[in-house]
């Protein structure tokens, strides 16, 4: 939903609503150029849900103010979360907006039994296969080897536990694959830590080993102890309930042959 708001003596504020991983968001901003860029970038995630989290953007300097429940600064831009709403200050381009949205989502997902993971997600036979690893591990390679339309994301996956089932959602945060992401979800088949090798091979991992795989690849930005305890609780649940494997793979589509159904 795109709509102009009141004119406050400068460009009229505009807003649009989107949903990422069923987290409803409403972005409000005055910068027409940024609004156009953001509307295009998040077009596939446009959604008018009830009670969205309102985010007021400002391209001005980061303002001092009342203590926030959560705050994060990134290259001159700042996120501050208050009980009354969210402020993104110093946002002058799409890159900054994208970065702060990831930070906000990582924090908001704590209350929704979810987390963001550096991972590509591919849907195959109705199930989500999640391929994780650091930059260069092969996330974009896996995405590029997958059929068009099956890639929910090639960079940042969103996982949530809903009604006892872990689901993976697409996100608009893409990597080298340059896909726009897909605003759909699927039940998780498994998480695979990528290792490029001369032959395809999978090895099942134990719970503690899964945590070792997940932790370096989880996007999380709060240094607050309670938030980290909650994150560890969610990750422990995921590590216990989601099958996880190490996947050594050749750079071609034959790796699917060794994945568990």
């Amino acid at each position: 939903m795109n709509a102009p708001l009141g004119n406050l003596g400068r460009s009229p504020r505009q807003q649009f609503e989107l949903s990422i991983g069923c987290v409803p968001l409403r972005l409000q901003m005055s910068d027409a150029q940024l609004f156009g860029a953001a509307s295009a970038r998040y077009a596939a995630f446009t959604d008018a849900a009830a009670q969205p989290i309102t985010i007021a953007l400002s391209d001005g300097a980061v303002l001092e103010g009342a203590p926030a429940e959560f705050s994060y600064e990134f290259e001159g831009a700042a996120l501050r979360a208050f009980s009354s709403g969210i402020r993104f200050d110093g946002v002058r381009n799409q890159y900054a907006l994208d970065s702060l949205l990831r930070v906000l989502l990582s924090w908001k997902l704590l209350g929704r039994r979810g987390f963001l993971l550096h991972a590509a997600t591919i849907v195959r036979n109705g199930k989500a296969y999640i391929f994780t690893g650091r930059s260069g591990a092969g996330k974009s390679t896996v995405a590029s080897l997958s059929p068009e339309g099956s890639v929910l994301t090639d960079e940042i996956s969103l996982l949530r536990r809903e009604d006892g089932v872990w689901r993976a959602y697409g996100t608009p945060f893409w990597g080298e694959f340059r896909a726009a992401g897909s605003n759909t979800s699927a039940p998780v088949a498994g998480i695979f830590r990528l290792l490029q090798a001369a032959e395809n091979r999978v090895i099942a991992l134990r719970t503690a080993a899964i945590l070792r795989v997940l932790l370096p690849n989880v996007l999380f930005f709060s240094a607050e102890a309670e938030a980290n305890r909650r994150l560890l609780e969610i990750l422990s649940e995921a590590a216990t309930e989601i099958p996880c494997y190490e996947l050594a793979f050749r750079k071609n589509a034959t790796f699917w042959e060794v994945l568990p159904a």
């Binding site: 134990r206 503690a208 945590l211 102890a225 980290n228």
Partner: protein, 100 residues
């Protein structure tokens, strides 16, 4: 080397930690570093509660492992020093007399 002093040891309250698969996983929120403990470290970790000195923790080692008091105290102090350097544990002033 840490010397016995009028302090008790407690887990750093800023940490997140869990027992999984008989392993203790500890996360430092400030740097998202994951720490793991060996068997003796796990035993100490379970018993570090802000009410025990290094000597008292060493005594628990003697009661639960086949180890002499001297070696237990050496091991306990070394592990506490290691955990302290990783900011996993902190000291608090002893609230009662510490037995030698």
């Amino acid at each position: 080397m840490i010397t016995p002093a009028a302090v008790f040891w407690q887990k750093n309250p800023a940490l997140a930690w869990r027992e999984i698969d008989d392993e203790t996983i500890i996360i430092s929120p400030n740097d998202s570093v994951m720490h793991e403990l060996n068997d003796t470290g796990r035993f100490l970790w379970k018993n570090i509660d802000g009410t025990k000195s290094a000597a008292e923790l060493a005594r628990l080692l003697v009661e639960n492992y086949e180890v002499t008091p001297d070696i237990a105290l050496f091991d306990a102090q070394a592990l506490l020093e290691e955990m302290s350097s990783r900011k996993l544990v902190v000291t608090v002033p002893a609230t009662r007399g510490i037995s030698p």
